[in-house]
């Protein structure tokens, strides 16, 4: 992800008569904090605002819609500053281009990294439209007011619409530092505005990757090595070619055989009877038990320090320790993997439900032997992402199969393919210890995280032995006199990927279960214990971020109050609580359960978030509810196990997501704030599992120290 340099961050790129087009630059997580880069080189926008002469306001952005509402939330931010009439605003999906800056969608970053540039672009266009009206009327700018999609002569009902002003505005200079609105004056931001993409999603008209069609397009499925890292030794396609509609069977890369047919069913039938001999390679004896033994043994190995305060080695007190363990997990988005590609000699076009259009473009180009600018990637709707579509594998496969058959093709992964050939949340092992003083308060706290590195496995640079994702996802937000957070990086042949909340799930689970254990050891209420450790207003510096104990205290108090913490519960009901900060947001959850036949039944989850300024309270509630349900599956049942080098789980029978009957009611609350917005897609995931396990302790006095709970 190379940094894009630019002269400024706004620029007009209008063609005469086409209306007003303002190009601007949206940074992603990798350039978060220094979004404006080198000030001496060429302006290279990756987003556009278009105002057409007929009054349409179009926000063009290459961020992928995977359910999180970017197609609504991002235009809202811009429309607010523009003083637009929301009814005229629409979103247009941009695809990958070599001209654009980073277009990755992930890290709960779409709003938090676009907040400033989106506002400035809208404000700049607003100022230009006001200037255009002032010139049109021959009056000072101060006598003009922008409101509801028009500029008005102040105090009158005489106005000119933005569409009518667009061409003239396009001839004016772009203000570099337009004034921004005060939060108290917001009319669009913060409101529960209905999502723009909802109607198409209830009629079946929404086009996901799997729904994309080209004329004469074939369908393909792949036979892949069942053993991780295995290769094709040989294959016999005699039976496959007898299946009606099968037109091609061939090796693609070292590790897969493609079966191409007129329909998905034909391709699946062709694969069913395909005879492949595999070279299993070095991992044929790999199994989960050995992987966990390896993690546990590595706990005594060399660690790097992520965070340190005081000196935990020089403290004596009552010693408490515990170890926790989490399995590999799979994203399992509802839309299985797929991409469509059309290779035509010196160019290739791809349609993909992807979070990383540029990575798809570059990787496909490399695989095809083309230059990146000979590959065009279009982003379809994503049927869930959760991080799975941060991989480029589907797109590259489609490109290679298209090249092999010299025609358009859609490669589809079946559910079993998705489950068995995924990139998994890393398994991890956690060793925690603490020293308590006479009152039971922790005077030393150590958390050693043992896990393989996602970025390390993918070959990204690892500075100082620290996986870069841990810098955004593992803060220890308590006032502790002596504390140490350590990381031991391990290796695994099991493919790893970023899954919703990434390492925050593992770190939050271990940390928040252990805090609960300390509260129990001290004989104190778990909420009071946490609040005591957050009582002092403290800024906690963790890598580049500063976390505030006051904000964590705020979400804990809000969640506890809304959940009725400490108040009488129905007979047999128990509550657990946990809090965690990640992706710059603070989240607390209270889980209410009863135990039925030794298993927890979750009745109610109350969550409270502090994510700064809320952009759309409707989408926020969706994201918090969705994160909690996703996390409940993770906590109860989600585990990918390895046996003889193969992923054991294959479909929703043995990797069983939460269904309606198990889904608790989820109440979502937020702290009112005018701080800059922070992530909401992922922060609701980490507190759920520890709050649930802490509730189980309240019910049973037994600790759950390994996920999944129902293993």
């Amino acid at each position: 992800m190379s940094p894009i340099s630019r002269r400024g961050f706004l620029g007009a790129t209008a063609a005469a008569g086409a209306g007003l087009v303002v190009g601007f630059y949206l940074p992603h997580k990798s350039s978060f904090g220094s979004p404006f880069g080198d000030s001496n080189t060429i302006f290279s926008p990756n987003a556009y605002l278009k105002i057409t002469p007929d009054g349409k306001i179009i926000v063009v952005v290459a961020r992928s819609e995977m359910g999180q509402g970017v197609r609504t939330a991002l235009p809202m931010i811009l429309a607010e500053e523009l003083e637009a009439d929301w009814k005229q605003v629409s979103f247009e999906q941009a695809g990958a281009s070599t001209l654009y800056g980073d277009q990755t969608t992930g890290g709960s970053a779409s709003v938090r990294t676009t907040w400033d540039p989106m506002r400035k672009a809208g404000a700049a266009a607003r100022e230009m439209l006001i200037s255009a009206a002032a010139l049109e009327w021959g009056i000072p700018r101060s006598a003009c007011k922008a409101e509801n999609g028009s500029v008005w002569k102040a105090g009158t009902s005489t106005g000119l619409t933005y569409g009518a002003l667009a061409n003239r505005a396009a001839t004016l200079p772009i203000p570099s530092d337009p004034p921004l609105k005060q939060a108290k004056d917001y009319k669009i931001v913060g409101k529960p505005i209905p999502r723009l993409d909802t109607p198409a999603k209830v009629t079946g008209n929404a086009v996901f990757g799997i729904d994309f069609r080209l004329p004469d397009m074939k369908h393909a499925v792949m036979a892949r090595s069942p053993v991780i890292g295995g290769k094709v030794a040989s294959f016999n396609d005699q039976e496959s070619k007898k299946i009606s509609g099968v037109s091609f069977v061939g090796k693609v890369g070292d590790s897969a055989v493609a079966v191409v047919a007129d329909s998905v069913w034909g391709a699946m039938e062709g694969r069913r009877v395909l005879n492949v001999t595999w070279d299993d390679g070095p991992n044929k004896d790999l199994n989960s038990a050995a992987i966990f033994d390896g993690l546990k043994n590595s706990a005594s190995g060399k660690a790097v320090t992520l965070y340190s305060v005081g000196d935990t080695t020089k403290v004596s007190g009552r010693h408490v320790e515990a170890a926790y363990q989490l399995p590999f997990m799979a994203h399992a988005p509802m839309e299985p993997g797929n991409s469509t590609a059309h290779f035509q000699g010196d160019k290739c076009e791809i349609w993909s439900p992807t979070q990383v259009p540029q990575d798809c473009r570059d990787s496909a180009a490399q695989a095809l032997g083309l230059d990146p600018d000979q590959v065009k990637v279009n982003i379809t709707l994503l049927g869930g992402g959760f991080g799975r579509r941060l991989e480029h594998d589907y797109a590259v496969e489609a490109a290679l199969v298209s090249k092999a058959i010299n025609g358009p093709v859609q490669v589809l992964w079946t559910r079993e393919d998705d489950m068995r050939f995924s990139s998994y949340r890393p398994a991890s092992y956690h060793k925690l210890s603490a020293a308590l003083d006479g009152q039971g308060w922790p005077i030393a706290f150590t958390h050693r995280i043992v896990a393989p590195s996602i970025s390390g496995q993918k070959g990204f640079p690892i500075e100082g032995g620290i996986d870069p994702d841990l810098k955004d996802e593992a803060p220890l937000i308590y006032s502790l006199p002596n504390a140490s957070l350590e990381y031991v990086m391990t290796e695994t042949p099991v493919p790893l990927g970023w899954m919703r909340s990434v390492y925050a799930l593992q770190v939050g689970f271990a940390s928040e279960c252990f805090i609960d254990e300390l509260a129990a050891a001290a004989g104190k209420d778990p909420l009071e214990y946490r609040l005591h450790l957050l009582a002092k207003d403290e800024d906690i510096k963790y890598f580049d971020a500063t976390w505030h104990t006051a904000r964590m205290r705020g979400v804990l108090q809000l969640a506890a109050a809304k959940a009725g913490w400490g108040k009488p519960l129905p007979a047999g009901h128990f509550q657990g609580i946990a809090c965690f900060g990640c992706f710059s947001s603070y989240m607390a959850e209270v889980v209410q359960i009863s135990m039925e036949n030794g298993k927890p039944r979750v009745h109610r989850v109350v969550g409270a978030v502090d994510c700064g300024q809320v952009v759309n309270s409707n989408i926020l509630e969706q994201q918090l509810q969705g994160g909690v349900i996703f996390a409940l599956t993770n906590a109860l049942r989600a585990q990918i196990t390895i046996d003889k080098g193969r992923v054991v789980q294959g479909n929703f029978g043995d990797y069983a997501p939460i269904r309606m009957g198990e889904a608790p009611s989820v109440e979502a609350y937020f702290v009112t704030s005018t701080e800059a917005p922070t992530g909401v897609g992922e922060p609701s995931v980490p507190p759920l599992a520890p709050a649930l396990c802490n509730a189980m302790y309240a019910a049973t006095k037994k600790r759950v120290r390994a996920l999944p709970i129902l293993a």
Binding site: T198, G204, S244, E335, G383, G384, R415, Q625, M660
Partner: protein
């Protein structure tokens, strides 16, 4: 291969497919009706739900030959014109997130309400148990079903 006539959304559609081809793939690949989704292929997730003679079935497990001659309804034909009341309820409650499973959820909800116009909470849980949503929209699905049930009561009273 066999010539099969499928009665889909009130219209006869002639297709030439292997008789065992699941209805899902006939809809999606032969007839280009992509509102019905593939999720698991084993009848576990409900993304492929359609109605056969008014009952919700998993089209990924329904051979085309079994559906021949029967009334098949898909999301595309749920309402004769405009939106079905259940689709309207889905919009009013802003149910979808990614939206991929929602057409299947809606087909299950319509079938549930046809059999039981005023379902209890438990009956909703039971009736919708065959549909998985990874975005976790269950709270809002429940609200939308109650909303649609209320709407049908009002219509019934008129």
């Amino acid at each position: 291969m066999a010539d099969i006539t499928l009665k889909i959304n009130g219209a006869d559609r002639k297709v030439n497919v292997s008789p065992e081809t699941p209805l899902l793939w006939v809809l999606r690949d032969t007839l280009q009706m992509t509102g019905t989704k593939f999720g698991c292929g084993i009848g576990s997730c409900g993304a492929c739900t359609v109605h056969l003679e008014g009952s919700a079935v998993r089209s990924c497990l329904t051979p085309a030959s079994d559906a021949a001659g029967k009334n098949i309804t898909t999301i595309e034909g749920l309402a004769a014109s405009g939106l079905h009341p259940v689709q309207q309820a889905w919009i009013a409650e802003e149910v979808p997130q990614c939206g991929y499973c929602q057409t299947g959820q809606i087909m299950s909800a319509v079938a549930l309400l046809a059999k039981n116009p005023q379902p209890s909470e438990d009956q909703i849980s039971q009736g919708m148990s065959g549909n998985i949503c990874r975005c976790g929209t269950y709270d809002r699905i429940r609200r939308a079903i109650h909303r649609a049930a209320g709407a049908s009561t009002k219509q019934g009273a008129q």
